[in-house]
């Protein structure tokens, strides 16, 4: 095994967050391992989405949010004043609850990240075509969409839209992909397709997923973090957390006594 810092991708230390007066995260300390899929589970309002939205600091678009503590991603505290939000969000991509492709073509959606981070004319047309093909291949959309690259992205099926939302992160070569209930708007088939895709991406990207669906957490994740009322209750390997929860509250939640 290599050194400690190589093994972990995200550390949070004494992370506290307030929405106005309401404290949504209380002293969260956690370490997310490199290249694995980590699930954040817990009842509604427990702060799991809030925690996820800290990892790329997208929480801060609301001015009433106040954060304290440290989040170290790839060896750098992302709350340091010299951190560039743009660079952070390039290496930490995010997939949202509802598929949210921008209402432009499929092609342009995939290149959206590249276009905003590189001056006009940095890439040749053939390079761009390659990038689009590679990204769509990686999420398994190329076969379906190769003749519809000019179609408006919002006209696709929801499942395709969500895959596209994952595909558009890839040209920026992120290290971490955050997913906020990526399957909650999809049917069984769509959910299965996204889960399979996540499994294929596992290893190359560190994936953190928020899910309401405990069976899904069990199916796809290597590790689970259970949260309750803004606190991190338990972090363990998935089987361990589901079979032998150390904290009684974890056990009761998993058995469905509350939540």
């Amino acid at each position: 095994m290599t050194t400690e810092s190589m093994q972990y991708c995200i550390h949070t230390r004494n992370l506290n967050l307030w929405y106005g007066e309401f404290q949504a995260l209380k002293n969260v300390n956690t370490d997310v391992k490199n290249g694995l899929i980590t699930s954040l589970i817990g009842p509604s309002g427990c702060g799991k989405t809030t925690l996820l939205r800290c990892f790329n600091r997208i929480n801060e678009r609301f001015t009433y949010v106040r954060t304290e503590g440290k989040i170290v991603i790839l060896g750098k505290n992302i709350y340091d004043p010299d951190v560039s939000l743009i660079e952070l969000r390039k290496s930490v991509g995010m997939v949202f609850q509802r598929p949210n492709p921008v209402p432009i073509s499929v092609y342009e959606n995939i290149l959206f990240g590249l276009r905003i981070h590189h001056p006009f004319g940095s890439f040749k047309k053939s390079e761009l075509d390659d990038i689009v093909e590679k990204s769509l291949m990686e999420v398994g959309l190329w076969k379906d969409l190769k003749d519809r690259l000019k179609a408006k992205a919002t006209s696709l099926q929801l499942e395709q839209q969500q895959k596209l939302c994952i595909a558009r992160l890839l040209p920026l070569k992120p290290d971490v992909i955050l997913m906020d209930e990526p399957c909650s708007a999809l049917d069984i088939e769509g959910t299965r397709a996204i889960e399979e895709l996540m499994y294929q991406l596992r290893g190359r990207y560190t994936i953190v997923i928020v899910t309401h669906n405990m069976a899904q957490a069990r199916r796809i994740s290597d590790e689970c973090i259970f949260m309750l009322l803004g606190e991190m209750i338990e972090h363990a390997r998935t089987e361990e957390l589901f079979l032998n929860p150390r904290n009684p509250r974890t056990g009761e939640y998993i058995e469905g006594r509350y939540g």
Binding site: R89, F112, G113, I116
Partner: protein, 310 residues
């Protein structure tokens, strides 16, 4: 015992009164009438205006080609009556064009600021002030053009007269900005927040979100805003009558005076004796104006449909 229970039950069973049924039908009729009243009014206006304009086609002094393309407007000449409206049409179009050059960037910029940049308090006060701007009567705008603006223009540019194309354009721009702002702001507000988050999460800056996400998403609404602004500017009468100088000529620059179709009708209809050629030709000018605004609205509609189909 049973009988009385039955009878009370019967009494309480609601029996609708004839009057209430009649009232409901009457109300329905009234609502129906108000619904189709718009059609009736438009048709009535068409009918009236066309009827008043029609006799001019049978006049010896009138020629449709000259009416449209001649710049000579001498409706009261004793020896050689000429009804050329081209200078007036050109005046209307040039004033509107100038107004839009000023109003569109300001209006869109202000809408973007209100919807994306400013805080909630600032937003509320700005919206109220912009609504206030829309509530200023057009004669007051004309008054401002005639007195304040014209003096400023004369002192800044050294133009011989301050009431000219530039003055009219500026006044019209100020008048159409509120419409453009409020409709574009609605269009921007209607863009789902998830689009903004998507771009933000990819590392986009505020400006990149605006021109790569918001403007493409809201382009229909923004276009509608601009076209409504144009409609307002073309149809405006009192303010341009007072601010443009009212000289029938093709302007050579922004400091020349012009006259618009609307101002011409407003100024001359009172003096034209009813039933005269002059009177009829002014109604025809009204039809021309209507055709122009109709064309603007129609292109707007077609353009928006075209965008939607894509």
């Amino acid at each position: 015992m049973n009988d009385t229970a039955d009878s009370t039950l019967k009494n309480t069973l609601p029996q609708r009164q004839f009057l209430s049924i009649a009232m409901e039908n009457l109300l329905e009729l009234i609502i129906r009438l108000s619904g189709i009243s718009a059609i009736i009014f438009v048709l009535a206006i068409f009918f009236f205006v066309f009827r008043e304009a029609l006799p001019i086609f049978f006049s010896d002094h009138f020629d449709l080609a000259k009416f449209l393309f001649n710049t000579q407007w001498y409706p009261t000449s004793e020896v050689n009556v000429r009804y050329g409206t081209f200078a007036l049409t050109f005046g209307s179009i040039s004033v509107t064009f100038l107004a839009m050059i000023i109003a569109v960037p300001f209006g869109l910029g202000s809408a973007i600021f209100i919807s994306e940049f400013c805080g909630p308090k600032m937003k509320e006060s700005l919206k109220i002030i912009i609504e206030l701007l829309a509530a200023i009567p057009s004669v007051v705008w004309g008054f401002i053009g005639l007195t304040v603006m014209s003096r400023i223009i004369v002192s800044l540019t050294g133009a011989p007269v301050g009431v000219n194309l530039l003055n009219g354009g500026l006044i019209l721009a100020l008048m159409s900005v509120p419409i453009i702002v409020s409709i574009s702001e609605d269009a921007l507000k209607a863009v789902p927040d998830s689009y903004r988050e998507a771009a933000l999460a990819l590392g986009a800056t505020k400006w990149q979100i605006i021109y790569r996400v918001l403007l493409p998403s809201a382009k229909n609404g923004l276009l509608a805003a601009v076209l409504l602004g144009i409609g307002r500017a073309v149809g405006e009468t009192m303010a341009v009558l007072m601010a443009t100088g009212h000289a029938v000529q093709i302007p050579h620059g922004p400091l020349d005076s012009v006259r618009t179709l609307t101002a011409n009708i407003a100024a001359e209809l009172g003096e034209a004796s009813a039933g005269s050629d002059h009177y009829h030709v002014l109604f025809l000018t009204g039809i021309l104006l209507f055709i122009i605004t109709f064309a603007v609205n129609l292109t707007a509609d077609l353009v928006i449909r075209g965008i939607r189909r894509k």
